[in-house]
């Protein structure tokens, strides 16, 4: 291989004698034979088994309570009331009682859940303006056409936040109270802040630049979404920093669920209170609901979910079971393969040939 490349004469067209060009690069040639695969299979089966058992134990340690309140208790009346759209402006409160047999230890998470609500319809999903939500001034007054027909109100004033998603925000609110044995009801404190993705709260959702203006002034010349009772800058009367596009309930709602049955985080038990320092004790509870969200049109259901979490998340048996099934499947296959290998491999030498 002359490096100097004295290429002249009859050898001028001689191809380079490099390993790549001659297709002779050194290479590793693995093969999937029983010999190589079997140890791996046994190993995988073992690992999956261990993981599965561990996950199963972890999942078993969590607790979960679901309560469908659509028509439960006194909510029945509200349910009927909400069937008529003309009553939309009237408020309706109801309460549902439930009991917890075994104490929820540690952090308790409070979710609301919806069934049969398709947040994943294409037109619905697209019906939002992320540009507006991220605080771009231009989009505030000029919502994206994707928001139609929820981009402007009848008088042509731009809606903020625009689109079907924001418009249909879940607007039931809950008050949870605990019947302390031999005593009065204790209101359960819920942390309603810090329940969104950090990046959503701080980057993806921004109010338009205020420049010493109040939020109300910033949102001047915009209309509130059609189905809303309050404008966006008054969503949380208690906490002025939780208003506008950075309202956490709004942000959570705006993260559209993948499937029609979903739940969304409402709050986390505040364990500062002495009673709840260890979580939720066993006993009777009442949940007072400000019942606004109509679901009967689409045959939906509403529920609240209380759950404790581990590092692994909530009570999801799928993963441990899947690991265990996979493990046993691999083990079974490995055994079958071993038999084949034993029978034919040894006798016929087919395996090693």
């Amino acid at each position: 291989m002359g490096k100097a490349k004295v290429k002249s004469g009859p050898l001028a067209r001689r191809p380079d004698n490099s390993a790549f060009k001659q297709q002779r690069l050194p290479a590793w040639s693995p093969m999937l034979t029983a010999n190589t695969v079997l140890p791996f299979f046994y190993f995988m089966a073992l690992i999956c088994m261990l993981l599965g058992v561990w996950l199963l134990l972890t999942v078993q340690s969590t607790q979960e309570m679901k309560l469908d309140y659509t028509e439960a208790g006194s909510c029945n009346l509200c349910y009927i009331k909400r069937q008529n759209a003309s009553n939309a402006a009237q408020s309706c409160t109801c309460s549902v009682m439930f009991s917890i047999q075994k104490a929820f230890k540690g952090d308790v998470f409070f979710y609301y859940g919806l069934k049969n609500f398709h947040q994943n319809l294409r037109r619905y999903m697209d019906s939002r303006d992320d540009g507006q939500m991220v605080g771009r001034k231009r989009n505030l007054k000029n919502p994206s056409s994707y928001c139609q027909p929820f981009d402007k109100d009848q008088t042509g004033v731009p809606i903020a936040p625009c689109g079907a998603v924001a418009n249909s925000i879940f607007n039931d609110s809950f008050t949870l109270s605990y019947h302390q044995p031999g005593s009065y009801r204790v209101r359960i404190p819920l942390l309603r802040r810090g329940i969104t993705w950090y990046t959503d709260e701080n980057v993806k959702f921004r109010n338009p630049k205020t420049e010493n203006l109040t939020l109300a002034e910033v949102f001047k010349d915009t209309a509130r979404p059609l189905y809303w009772q309050k404008p966006v800058y008054e969503l949380d009367p208690d906490d002025p920093t939780n208003n506008g596009f950075i309202n956490e309930d709004l942000i959570i709602w705006m993260r559209e669920a993948a499937f029609p049955n979903f739940k969304k985080l409402y709050g986390v038990l505040n364990r500062a209170d002495e009673v709840f320092a260890k979580g939720l004790p066993a006993g009777n509870y009442t949940i007072d609901i400000n019942y606004n969200f109509p679901v009967q049109y689409f045959r939906g259901r509403k529920e609240v979910v209380l759950t404790t979490l581990t590092w692994f998340g909530g009570q999801n048996h799928f993963l441990p079971v899947a690991y265990l099934v996979t493990s046993s499947l691999i083990l079974l296959l490995a055994v079958v393969l071993t038999v084949i290998w034993w029978k034919f491999g040894k006798a016929g030498k087919n395996m090693q040939e």
Partner: protein, 1181 residues
Amino acid sequence: MLFYLITRRQAFHVKSPNPDESLSVIDTRDVIVGLRGRSGGERRKECVGEENWVDSRTIYIGHKEPPPGTEAFIQQRFPDNRIVSSKYTFWNFIPKNMFEQFRRVANFYFLIIFLVQLIIDTPTSPITSGLPLFFVITVTAIKQVGDVVFVKENETFPCDLILLSTSRDEGVCYVTTASLDGESSHKTYFAVQDTKAYNTEQEVDSIHATIECEQPQPDLYKFVGRINIYMDNEPVARPLGSENLLLRGATLKNTEYIYAVAIYTGMETKMALNYQSKTQKRSAVEKSMNAYLVVYLFILISKAFVNTVLKYVWQADPNRDEPWYNDRTESERQRHIVIRAFTDFLAFMVLFNYIIPVSMYVTVEMQKFLGSYFIMWDDEMFDEELGERAVVNTSDLNEELGQVEYVFTDKTGTLTENNMEFIECCVDGHVYVPHVILNGQEHEELFFRALCLCHTVQVKEEETVDGIKQGIHQGKSTSFYISSSPDEVALVEGMKRLGFTYLRLKDSHMEILNREDEIERFELLEVLTFDSVRRRMSVIVRSSSGQLYLFCKGADSSIFPRVISGKVEQVKARVEHNAVEGLRTLCVAYRLLSPEQYQEVCHLLSGAKLALQDRDKRLAEAYDIIEKDLILLGAYRCGGQVGGGTRLQEKAADTIESLHKAGMKVWVLTGDKMETAAATCYASKLFHRNTQILELTTKRTEEQSLHDVLFDLSRTVLRQHGGMTRDTFSGLSGDCTDYGLIIDGATLSAVMRPPQEDSNSGNYKEIFLEICRNCSAVLCCRMAPLQKAQIVKLIKASKEHPITLAIGDGANDVSMILEAHVGVGIMGKEGRQAVRNSDYAIPKFKHLKKMLLVHGHYYYIRISELVQYFFYKNVCFIFPQFLYQFFCGFSQQPLYDTAYLTLYNISFTSLPILLYSLIEQHINMDILKKDPSLYRDIAKNSLLRWPIFIYWTILGVYDAIVMFFGAYFLFDNTTFTSNGQMFGNWTFGTLVFTVLVFTVTFKLALDTHYWTWINHFVIWGSLIFFVVFSLLWGGIIWPFLNYQRMYYVFMQMLSSGPAWLSIILLITAGLLPDVLKKVIWRALWPTTTERIQNADKLYKGHLSEFTPLASLQSKAGSQRRGSGGQRNVPNPRRSEPFSKKTMFTRWQRTPDYCTFTPLLRFADGARNSRQGYAHGGQTSV
């Protein structure tokens, strides 16, 4: 390097020459003179031929209008001289490639999808899929033809030109066409007789003429036209032929300058036409691909249809149709239901359109184009003697090289060497060999002069050329004889040794130095050029004494019928004697012409030559009339350089044997006599000693009727083969009878004749094909070139539609090279026509072995995996999206983000498969060469059969289901973060997509058997790229985008433990069945390929040092035990049982054999076989 970038100097580049200027210099290097001028004269009235003028064009030299009174001056518009001779250039690769794709089955589809995206509201953006579809056609200025061009020595002609005059007195110029057809010899071109005197600018300016010529044709060697020169108002018509036409791309040599007129420019030049007009050959793989495409199109349409129907069923419930949270706009409400349904259907089509991979076509194209470099780069296919390497003219057929079933080969120059030397001559029955004193007979002198004159050899002085060169005076001066035929050079050389030296052609006079060292001059009047139909050539010369001679030489069969006197018998006897020895013998005859006869001849010839239509046919007729009443002079023969035998090409026998073992049928097609050809066939191992030869020749059909002979033969053949079991047949085992068929041209045409009315004659073609199918080797002798193509066509059209390959080196092989599926040219000594028309060109016949057995095999394996994998990965990709529709109310919500949809095929999963399809080697190439029977493992498109395709598709659907539902159950209304936060649909899609990308990449990794560092780099690199891209894509609020749906989605997903666990689990579950299938199949029903891989592993890569032995086979059957059960498993896909036994059955006996003994045995065997090769290597006849 991606593109065939051929740039040419833009010679003509003028917008519009000022009409007042008589002279405008246009280019700095090629001085082009545009001439305009005076008029005058009258156009001649009568035409030589009554042609159809539609197919010709008229060119006005210097744009001068024809003289008044003739037909109107019609300014025709011709293309400008810009040429895009490349398939791809840098800027047009993507659009042009796209355009290429659109011509295929898919073209309509892609266009529709794009248009749909433009028109309706669809789930995906039209920009992402539509952007590459556009390309701009630049309309360039149109330039007139007719400019007079001035070209200096060593310059390249800018367009196709008619030579007007040259700096040489004779009006000739020398040209090398090396860049056009690779022939570097200098060719002589002639100026038009009447204009050759005009060799200054002013003089040329005064020429007033028009040229009529045919419309542009791609044939480089054909040109028909005529020039009408108006001299003193007297029009003169002169014929123009290819000898007047200077081609673009050719270079002027040995001539100071020329003036010529442009007739074809730009894309109309013959060179440009040649790049375009290559007929598209389609490979079997491509056909399979198109069939799969149709299946997928069907799947796509049914998916879209089912979803549309389901959508409306689902929406029948009014609450679902338009829930309060998802109000429609007013215009949507007013739309008619049918229109809405149709729009929905189209939207689904768009959503699922990725299932038909646009990128597959691009990748296949790139694979073919880049992959073909490995053929060119192959050092083993470089020939030091010629200094040539393999050339790939069409990369479309790479994989077809792995599918060849029939090989049609030419004999002379392909199987045998074509180094010709004059051996002996025979005048009136007396035999002469070089360096013998002659005894001055009457015919003798004439005979030698005839040989000295009747040829087209040129004398080349100095300058080395790598064509055929023989020094006239070795050592002294460097003059060479050059000819496109080595025979002629050998002949003139031989004459020199007999004392007659051909000196040169000067001023139409041929000069001969005779034995008395006197120069004799003969005026060359006409050359009746050689063609392979006539198989003879003639010259008409006038001797210094004024005698007119016609000398004719040609094949014996073409001369004898035209001879009226001479010692025919003696010469004939000698010719036949020679033929047995395998030598090429030519006969020489002459005819004396009286001046009247000569006048008649001239008239005939000029009439034919001036014709614009059917010139060839007219010329052939004229030649036929002229070459008659000959007097036989004698015969001479040329042969290979060594001894007296025809030498086989290096390793020709070995190659043929390998092709046989690889299951290919080899046919030798030759124009030679049967005896000569048969001898070569034995020498080249085409026929073995125990081959039973079946003859289907005129000799036999004279005795029996063709009908009887055919039935006889077919009975013989079928009896034998019917009694054989599949297992004992292997085509190479010694004990079963091999058949070889010999057929000659005359019988062949009788067989090919369409069946007669009376039905008892039957269809001979079928019977003939039946016989051929059962013969391992066929020899066709006495074939005309067209018959060669006919044979190829016959086999191609037979009911199995086998893949054919034709290989040859001469112009007479071009027809079959073009006809066969794969045409291979040998860079022989008979010009470059075969090479130019071939799909692949190799220096020597022996290189065919590596080309087919190694490259062909690899390409086939690679591309079939490429095709299957592409469909697989797109099923995996799109099927989850289909499943998702069932959960999102059939609203066409995409599962994946737009960026993922667009980039999945372009960047996340494309490079690993492209690399695989470029460098995968399932078996070491040395083993492939050593064991040709491996070629059978992939025969009949075996890796692209329907069962395999269905397996891949099912695997894809399975993976898709695992991925989708795995993620679905994980998401099922539960939290899977430790802080209680929930994930949305984009996280779901991203999770599925991540599993998807990893699964399909790992699947490819599992299939890869040849892991070089590049594979590691690309496979792991593309996964890393996916992760990095996802991090980046979700890491920024993109300023110009209105949606930020992916913001931090990927990172949030990765922060969740269960997401990781499920990704790992789903990948494992997705790959498990394939791994299992591979292991079990390999253990129970291994293909030959897998067996060899196993064995190679066992011997740590040294297996290639051992040659597999055919002799092992007979033992193998008895040694086999414990495998009977497995063999009964019906498994049509796996290789045929016989191929299993080729080598490794040996190890089946006891485990002990695995360790040491076989090594010895193999070593033993290798030695034996090498002896075998040596023995049969280069036998000469």
